[in-house]
């Protein structure tokens, strides 16, 4: 996929997010939208995966450590063909396999259940270590929230990954600057994030999370890095793509009402049409 195609797909993924959260009447649109371009890049460009064979042994692994942004993850998986896009409307409904947070037992393409913050990165580290133990070539990616890295377990995992020189591991931090209670640097500052990962022997790349060319360079650089894991610190905008949700902590975990849903979808559809005219 070229950059324009990725942008179009990211727009589709965003529409899926807004639709899913609206249908569920709950969920997390803000962080799903900030990560939508990254989900799109990973699932349409970077990862070695096969929707027809979700469990193929040599696939790259992805762990959504910030599990509450499941709507973004599910939307990317659905658009990539792991399950019907229509099913996004069943998010969080009783009886649906699309649980509020990723459930590996029932969702095709999900490599690890997650949702309790700080835990996903450890599982990703375990997968990367296992590949090293048996000389398997697959790579492991995990997406963390910037608020999430306030959890101590993240740094236990980072210390171990750096110590073990897991160069098949790529940690991505969605740095949208907001958490439920407000600005992350008001709540409990994690900055400087890049220096902290460097201190644990990570190769660190700072990138604009909404620039596909920059993302391509960053992921290429991560793949080429040997002898240490990579951390991509991706500066993003929470709620990106829906004007009234952008940079608003209040949209961390709130679903749009019918009126807001209509406005959001209208905005996204217009943005999509504009891309098609390019």
């Amino acid at each position: 996929m070229n950059t324009l195609e990725l942008k179009k797909m990211a727009n589709e993924v965003r529409q899926g997010i807004v639709t899913a959260v609206h249908s569920a009447k709950s969920g997390h649109p803000g962080g799903s939208l900030s990560a939508a371009d990254m989900f799109t890049y990973l699932y349409f460009k970077e990862l070695n995966i096969d929707p027809k064979n979700p469990n193929k042994e040599d696939r790259d692994r992805f762990v959504l450590s910030k599990g509450h942004t499941a709507p973004g993850y599910y939307s990317a998986l659905a658009h990539r063909g792991f399950f019907p896009v229509e099913d996004l409307k069943t998010l969080r409904h009783v009886g649906s396999y699309l649980q509020g947070h990723p459930d590996k037992k029932h969702i095709p393409g999900v490599d690890m259940s997650s949702g309790s913050l700080g835990q996903g990165i450890s599982a990703a580290v375990g997968m990367a270590l296992s590949a090293k133990l048996s000389n398997d070539a697959y790579r492991v990616y995990t997406l963390l929230g910037d608020g999430e890295i306030q959890e101590g377990q993240v740094w236990e995992a980072a210390m171990f990954a750096g110590h073990r020189k897991l160069d098949n591991l790529c940690v991505i931090v969605d740095n949208n600057g907001l958490q439920i209670d407000g600005n992350i640097d008001d709540v409990c500052s994690p900055y400087p994030i890049d220096e902290k990962f460097k201190a644990f022997n990570f190769h660190v790349i700072n990138v604009d999370a909404h620039d596909f060319d920059a993302l391509e360079k960053a992921f290429d650089e991560a793949r080429a890095t040997k002898g240490q894991p990579t951390a991509i610190i991706a500066k993003s905008v929470k709620g990106k793509g829906v004007s009234f949700m952008e940079n608003q902590a209040s949209w961390h975990g709130t679903a749009p009402n019918d009126e807001q849903y209509a406005i959001a979808m209208e905005e996204l559809k217009k943005a999509g049409e504009a891309l098609c005219q390019k």
Binding site: D103, G120, A123, A124
Partner: protein
Amino acid sequence: MSEVKKIATRESYGNALVELGKEHEDLVVLDADLAAATKTGIFKKAFPDRHIDCGIAECNMMGIAAGIATTGKVPFASTFAMFAAGRAFEQVRNSIGYPHLNVKIGATHAGISVGEDGATHQCNEDIALMRTIPGMVVINPSDDVEARAAVKAAYEYEGPVYLRFGRLAVPVINDRPEYKFEIGKGVVLREGKDVTIIATGLCVSETLAAADLLAKDGIDAKVVNIHTIKPLDEELVVASAKETGKVVTVEEHSIIGGLGSAVCDVLAEQCPTKVMRIGINDVFGESGPAVQLVKKYGLDSESIYNRVKDFVK
């Protein structure tokens, strides 16, 4: 009479891992800077490439074990019971239990008999915590023979298993050729008609000795060893209660939430029976030599004998 052979079940754990490691290349062992104490150091010596020291970070270790399990290997995550079931409870629940991953948790230094380190290290709550996790198997072996068999059975079982081991050397009581370990099946060690004593872990040998003392007083006690607390051998528990009436449970664990509670859950529903629970009575422990603590907290044969005698009267 020759002296009874004694061995701590944590030693059995280390030895069993080495034996299994020879046969199974997919077995990996994790530890959190306690390899000398948990006895996974023996495995490390034999298979250095398959021993992963995670450092003093038990929560991360549980997550790493979960990640490894998703790739098809069989990890044994090892640390003290306090840190495995206590500190890392949420990691065990969410990263291992919820996805039902094939992780084995080797929890050593369980119970009051940890000894001198005192209350912070004496985990009398782990069975209660672990048995509330859906799908988690909870095993508490009584001696060396049973502990080694349990480790093997845990490897062969597909799914999460919590294995509980002790620090104190305990007598070998199951060294007979016909001994067979089956997850979820209790073992009748002695038939009797007056009372059933259901024991687990290091309390099994003490209970057998107590039954000998009771016999001298003309009290005929049936002794059942429950090595698997979850899934509990409900059939055996109910049948024994029907047979003898009164039931006593004995465990080196809080009387709240452990074997005693598990037995009461079943009997209350299926065969209301008078039950006496012997265990740690909702108190924190204290420092001291293990054998003295076992006596002080009423888990030695004489204490068990005295309490059962009063109960049966």
